[in-house]
Amino acid sequence: MAMSATRRRLLFGIPLALAVVGGEGFYTILRRMQRNDYDPHALPSPLIGKRPPAFSLPGLNGGPGFSNLDLLAPPRPMLVNWFASWCIPCVQEAQMLDWLTKNGLTIWGINYEDKADTAAHYLAQNGNPYTRIATDISGLTAINWGVYGVPETYLIDKTGIVRWRYAGPLTPDIVNGTLNKLLRRYS
């Protein structure tokens, strides 16, 4: 049975069509990467839309620490920032955290797998933006949060729900872009 010429041409055009579709897809992905909408190395946190898991951690050098019950209903959206004295990117974001607190944002810190004296020294050297500090020496609470590195920052809204997780040091781009938008949305 004969196949018409046009049908043949269409068949031979399939590879081109597939390539065009693929190209469109890649282009879209690249544009989104440029706009910081997509990061192939970042993980979405399963905590988003939920409350932080149950925990109760001691404080630093005799301080009070805090638990998940303290995060049930913050007066304003706040950040929980995981940090460590041995973490170099944490030093990089220290200035940014400082700036954020000066502009009215509340940040609570959790010290991850660290020693009390080095942590205290770190805070003395780089400034202490944290209203309250807890220590997770074993790292088990971090695992329950789904933390996989430091620094990590979680945005918690007024109802105690986690709305955003950022893995890595907070940069001006991220703060002015994503964080600002979210703070406006959830205030």
């Binding site: 049975m1 993980l43 399963p46 695992i143 789904g146 996989y148």
Partner: protein, 148 residues
């Protein structure tokens, strides 16, 4: 006495499996260790991101290995341990994605690729044996004239 010993001998293979090993500070039986390794091989190390947590030397991988072994010793099923990990890290932590509507296309690719390949072969054979189109009346007349 001999019968008792022979009876006990039957348990030797089981005893071999019951031999204890220590891995990352957790002591468990060989069977349990094998099960834990199989689970670990299915989970992605999030720090190195292209190794499983069994093979990775990252601290987080070690902590997760310890947690897996503790759960295995307590008798938790493979499914619940995987759930534990997914609850905390998302489905990204699974090296083999779960079979849900989202991944139907992915899992369908092997049979689909074969079928499409064979289809193209079959279609291509039909294209090849196309006879030329019959001549129109005008062309047939021209051909006659040329042949004369």
């Amino acid at each position: 006495m001999k019968r008792v010993l022979l009876f006990l001998l039957a348990f030797l293979p089981a005893l071999a499996q019951a031999q204890m090993v220590t891995r990352d500070g957790v002591t468990l039986t060989q069977t349990q260790e094998t099960r834990a390794e199989a689970i670990g091989d299915q989970l992605r190390c999030l720090v190195c991101q292209n190794e499983s947590i069994e093979g990775s030397s990252a601290t987080l991988a070690k902590q997760l290995r310890i947690i897996i072994r503790q759960h295995v010793v307590e008798g938790d099923s493979n499914k619940s341990i995987m759930q534990f990990m997914v609850q905390r890290y998302g489905i990204f932590v699974l090296l083999k994605p779960p079979f849900t509507p989202l991944t139907y296309l992915l899992y369908a690719t092997p049979p689909l690729a074969l079928i499409i390949g064979l289809l193209i072969f079959w279609v291509a054979r039909r294209i090849r044996v196309t006879p030329p189109a019959p001549l129109s009346a005008e062309d047939a007349k021209r051909l006659d004239e040329l042949l004369q």
